[in-house]
């Protein structure tokens, strides 16, 4: 039962991660990433880490990828092009990936002891109480710093992505739309030009609400 489940999960994770990299539509890529993360979460449960598995689903699959989907839909990104126009770099990249995987596998092989036995772990290993016990004693300072990091991230995102034009009292003048006086001058110039040549005014200030 155990080995079969692991093989299924491994195949699902690798296949969906490859599909994520290869697929042309960004939406499908994100959905394949959800599958990868879900498979990883089940693997965490197999490795006696139920708390981290639940966190993986809540944080990664439930929040981070939803954020990705939001941005993709917000920017209305169309299907992308997979590869460079030349085939050379693609094969080089695949060889690079194979070399990295092989090197990591060699390190694992060299570093871990022979034999596949898992050492016995105490009851309640990986439960919320055990992780919390360590988190709030030995890792308390990183915990507090992480909370500051999250606040900074939130404020930074709001500052970076805010729409300057939409804020009331904004002094920033986006290009193409002048201040109110400039727009009045442009409208006056249009009317003068129309009166003198008898044509329809050609020049219209962009975003002028009266047009």
């Amino acid at each position: 039962m155990g080995p079969l489940l692991f093989v299924l999960l491994a195949v699902a994770a690798v296949a969906s991660s490859v599909a994520m990299v290869v697929h042309r539509s960004p939406i499908y890529s994100t959905l394949y990433m959800v599958v990868t993360f879900a498979a990883t979460a089940v693997m965490f449960v197999l490795l006696d880490a139920p708390f981290i598995a639940a966190l993986q689903i809540i944080v990664y699959a439930g929040a981070i990828i939803v954020l990705f989907l939001f941005v993709i839909m917000f920017l209305n990104l169309k299907t992308g092009v997979l590869i460079e126009r030349r085939r050379g770099p693609l094969w080089l990249a695949i060889i690079l990936g194979a070399v990295v995987a092989g090197e990591l596998a060699a390190v694992v092989n060299h570093g871990t002891a022979a034999g596949g036995a898992r050492p016995a772990v105490p009851e309640g290993f990986g439960s919320v109480e055990s992780v919390a016990g360590l988190l709030f004693t030995r890792y308390l300072v990183p915990f507090e710093i992480t909370s500051i990091l999250l606040i900074v991230g939130m404020v930074g995102a709001v500052v970076l992505a805010r729409n300057e034009e939409a804020l009331p009292g904004a002094t920033f003048d986006p290009p193409g739309v002048g201040s109110i006086e400039a727009r009045k001058d442009a409208a006056a110039a249009n009317d003068a030009a129309a009166a003198s040549t008898g044509e329809q005014p050609q020049v219209v200030a962009a975003g002028d609400p009266s047009r």
Partner: protein, 335 residues
């Protein structure tokens, strides 16, 4: 071997029974809502199909089943079909960890009235609820319709925002019971229910649950008169039935969680017997559901910016204050 097979059989039977009861409840919740809303609005509700309209859910089911399944041109067919499935799957998966009663002994075997007794019960509920967002956002996107996309994005932002206060409101009972396991939390309410100890938490939870399931007063993103019914405007037939089912199933699930975590679960007032536990549980759940329907019948809906402002600027700080007060009182009583 026989033991494993026996426990597998017991689990399968439990799943069948609980799901059967659950789906019947969903169908009749729709009927009860229409009747109660009707009476609130000085009319009768469904009356003709069967005695006082009791067979109305059957008629609705037949109608939705036989309706033509329209897939709009240019819609993403795979995602269009996947979205309602995700909504329903996540709405139904949550009841796996809800204990409906204490353990009963039948034929010498002890059977827990719960499908899966996880150590991280509450985290499982939060995780599955956060996966339900995908049905909404994919349904909005896959419909190839501006209104559906806007409604889907708005609804997703709303659900994600209120998930925060929902999770934080659940931290209160967690702190009082000292465990994430649902059964332990219910057993910790044997003397006094957590709604007495955590009134603010209970209110925050109810309001966040209304927002999570897109109910009035938070249903701007899917109301029929706003944004042309939002993310399920292009759905018809069985797919729409699935969205509908998912919404009412989610309502029942949040009512069940409120009962388990705040209202004492299967502990009754007065006589207590292991076989009476589920009856008490269902009675309390029905009370919470009637409150939800009552709110639907009496309150207007919030505008979207009012909704988001309320979630972030009112509910989130309140739930944090609730946690701080609970922690302070627990520490004070312990020391």
């Amino acid at each position: 071997m026989l033991d494993a097979l026996g426990s597998l059989g017991a689990t399968a039977l439990k799943v069948a029974i609980i799901f059967g009861i659950f789906l019947t409840m969903v169908a009749y919740l729709v009927y009860v809502e229409r009747k109660v809303l009707g009476h609130i609005q000085m009319r009768r509700g469904p009356l003709h199909v069967g005695f006082h309209g009791l067979l109305q859910p059957l008629a609705d089911g037949v109608k939705l089943f036989l309706k033509e399944d329209v897939i709009p041109e240019g819609a993403d067919r795979a995602l269009f079909a996947l979205a309602p499935a995700i909504c329903v799957a996540t709405a139904l998966s949550t009841i796996a960890v809800i204990p409906f009663g204490e353990s009963v002994t039948v034929l010498g075997r002890t059977i827990h009235l719960q499908i899966a007794d996880l150590n991280i019960g509450i985290l499982y509920i939060l995780a599955v609820t956060s996966l339900g967002v995908y049905g909404i956002i994919l349904g909005g996107w896959a419909s190839n319709n501006k209104f559906a996309l806007m409604g889907g994005l708005r609804s997703t932002a709303q659900v994600v925002s209120y998930e925060l206060s929902l999770g934080l409101a659940l931290v209160g009972p967690l702190m009082l019971a000292g465990s994430l396991r649902m059964r332990t939390i219910i057993d910790a309410q044997a003397e006094v229910w957590f709604v007495v100890l955590q009134p603010l938490g209970f209110l925050i939870y109810l309001v966040s649950a209304l927002a999570e399931t897109n109910r009035i007063p938070f249903d701007l993103a899917e109301a029929e008169s706003e944004l042309v019914a939002g993310y399920h405007v292009e759905y018809s037939g069985m797919k729409f039935a699935f969205f509908f089912l998912a919404e009412y199933a989610a309502m029942i699930t949040v009512a069940a969680i409120a009962t388990a975590l705040f209202l004492g679960g299967y502990h009754g007032i007065g006589f207590n017997s292991p076989w009476l536990g589920p009856v008490w549980f269902l009675a309390k759940m029905t009370l919470v559901l009637l409150v939800f329907i009552w709110i639907r019948g009496t309150l207007p809906r919030l505008r979207y910016d009012q909704l988001m402002r309320f979630g972030w600027k009112v509910l989130l700080p309140l739930s944090l204050i609730n946690i701080m007060i609970t922690g302070a009182v627990a520490l004070w009583r312990q020391g």
